[in-house]
């Protein structure tokens, strides 16, 4: 984050400004569809930000992160179905359920490493998927329609598209700030140390399992919030939100945007979903274009788009000795 006037910081600032001003543009006669698209992008960016905490900073390759989208979503959906509409109950339940799930999944999966860790997180997510598909009372396979969005105190009305968009955006910004504080705190240094060299961390005196577990729970909780938002956004929740391909999408967002950069996942989410939207307008076989593009980024831009922007460096001066950015 050094060098205020770097290309990268300007791009990030422009992106944030565009997100902030988007509703005004739409209101002034722009396409309403843009707001719908970007609301979805903002929510999934929040999910990607949470995944980045464990994947980018902690090196924990979870392949089941979308499970929390489902848990947060179903918490809202089921409570609404049972007649409890207040967000003051729905959202805390969504967060608590996600935290609990994160604790259980993390406690078991973090005892393993590498491919096994990937497989266990994937297995838990798929298990949750099939359980949700089996909930006959709550729509089973077909999913559950939510007839009323989460209710808060009067002036705030989530059914208003612009208000809802700004609520999501505020929560996204807040979680980016939260992750920024987290990864630079003592806790965050420990997490990055375990990604870099777990054995050494234990040798110098850190019980790394506990720290990773807490990190895993925080990431899950944050993603559960995204799940609650997503359910409100679509007025619907179904098992499909936690299907493994959705977890894959989140990983792509993080890798594409830049692992281990606070704003990387936001950039990645915007890039991926806008690209998807644009390409699918050109051809039905848009994946044929998207796939090679992703490959190029993974092969040639190790830090994702964010890393690429950082390599361009500061505006006037040429990059000097290679320094580590915070």
């Amino acid at each position: 984050m050094s060098g205020a006037l770097s290309i990268r910081n300007i791009v990030v600032a422009l992106l944030l400004a565009a997100l902030l001003l988007l509703p005004l543009y739409v209101k002034a006669g722009g396409n309403l569809f843009l707001l719908t698209l970007f609301n979805r992008i903002v929510i999934l960016a929040l999910a990607a930000v949470s995944l980045n905490l464990i994947l980018g900073y902690g090196g924990m390759m979870s392949f089941g992160h979308a499970v929390y989208l489902g848990i947060g979503g179903y918490a809202v959906g089921i409570l609404a179905h049972e007649g409890i509409y207040t967000g003051f109950v729905q959202w805390p339940v969504a967060l608590a359920a996600s935290a609990l799930f994160g604790l259980v999944i993390g406690a078991l999966s973090l005892r393993t490493r590498g491919v096994y860790f990937i497989m266990i997180t994937l297995a838990f997510a798929q298990m949750a998927y099939y359980i949700a598909a089996g909930l006959a009372r709550y729509g089973g396979d077909d999913g559950l329609t939510i007839y009323k969005r989460s209710q808060f105190f009067p002036p705030l009305n989530l059914s208003d598209k612009v208000q809802f968009y700004y609520v999501c955006l505020a929560l996204l910004f807040a979680s980016i700030y939260l992750v920024h504080r987290l990864v630079n705190s003592r806790f965050g240094l420990v997490i990055q140390g375990t990604r870099s060299n777990d054995t050494r961390m234990r040798a110098i005196g850190f019980p790394t399992y506990r720290y990773k577990l807490v990190c895993f729970v925080i990431a899950g909780t944050l993603c559960g919030l995204a799940g609650a938002l997503l359910a409100n956004n679509t007025d619907f929740v179904s098992p499909a939100v936690m299907y493994w391909t959705r977890s894959g999408d989140l990983i792509i967002m993080v890798v594409l945007g830049g692992m281990g950069s606070v704003t990387g996942p936001l950039i990645g989410a915007v890039a991926l979903l806008v690209l998807e939207e644009a390409l699918s307008g050109i051809t039905e076989y848009w994946q044929i274009i998207l796939g090679p593009l992703l490959l190029l980024v993974v092969l040639f831009a190790r830090g994702g788009i964010d890393g690429l922007l950082q390599q361009i460096g500061p505006l006037p001066k040429v990059a000097r000795t290679k320094k580590v950015g915070a």
Partner: protein
């Protein structure tokens, strides 16, 4: 000699039939620099692994400062003041140099469930970390990415990290490995300065360094101690000469 700080009794470890540690006893007095030497395959690294907590012994006991640490995990030993450096440099290569040492300081500064304040700006962490880097002559490298430093500098970082936690005892596993003559000489000087403040167990192949630094030397062959004593005694011991010093002439390999 003063009180023993580290005491090893009857330690044994086998790997699939190979005896790596064979009922070994070892005593390191507080304040001494104790070197462990022996030909390749003598079990030196296995021994240091058991002392550090990476390798679990089959039987026997390890006492550190009066505590039985035989079955304590690595991080608990480290908290008691037993720090080890690795034969193969094992650092946080994608973090900055100062972050590496900062983590070593932080490890001794209570739990790290602190989520909000910027750790790199905490004077309690930053000052000792920079002081340790200063000590090994790497202060001007603090903000570089660790992977950008040379092998010799990595060895010095190892030392800085071991020092940063203010340990009572250092386990040094071949600190000279892979260093050029000049770098070795400055490492010897560094260790000479350190041994006034710390107890050190040194496993090293560089005989010149060992005889220059050690207060006591233990010679291992096939997992057993064949001799232990002051450098002159070891040099004069016929069994040692036969088993080790003679045949090692000109070999200088490590491994």
């Amino acid at each position: 000699m003063s009180e023993p700080l580290l005491q090893v009794e009857n330690l044994a470890k086998r790997f699939e039939g190979i005896v790596a540690t064979d009922h070994l006893a070892l005593t390191v007095a507080a304040g001494e620099l104790h070197a462990v030497i022996g030909p390749n395959g003598a079990g030196k690294t296995t021994l240091i692994g058991q002392l550090g907590g990476q390798v679990t012994p089959d039987s026997g006991h390890i006492y550190f400062a009066g505590n039985d640490i035989t079955s304590l995990p690595m991080y608990r030993r480290s908290r008691l003041g037993l720090a080890r450096s690795f034969q193969i440099t094992s650092l946080f290569y994608d973090l900055s140099v100062v972050d590496n040492v900062l983590l070593a300081v932080q490890a001794r500064a209570g739990h790290s469930f602190r989520f909000w304040r910027a750790a790199r700006r905490e004077q309690d962490l930053r000052e000792p970390a920079l002081a340790a880097l200063e000590r090994v002559g790497l202060a001007d490298r603090a903000d570089l990415r660790t992977s950008a430093l040379s092998h010799g500098e990595h060895r010095l970082m190892e030392l800085a990290m071991a020092l940063a936690g203010h340990p009572r005892m250092l386990l040094l596993d071949e600190p000279m490995a892979g260093l050029g003559p000049e770098e070795s000489a400055s490492m010897v000087e560094m260790l000479r300065a350190l041994k006034r403040e710390l107890t050190i167990l040194l496993v090293e192949h560089d005989m010149e360094a060992v005889f220059a630094l050690a207060d006591r030397i233990t010679v291992m062959v096939y997992g057993r101690v064949i001799a232990s004593g002051a450098p002159e005694e070891i040099r004069a011991n016929p069994e040692v000469r036969e088993a080790y010093l003679g045949e090692d002439d000109g070999e200088g390999a490590h491994g």
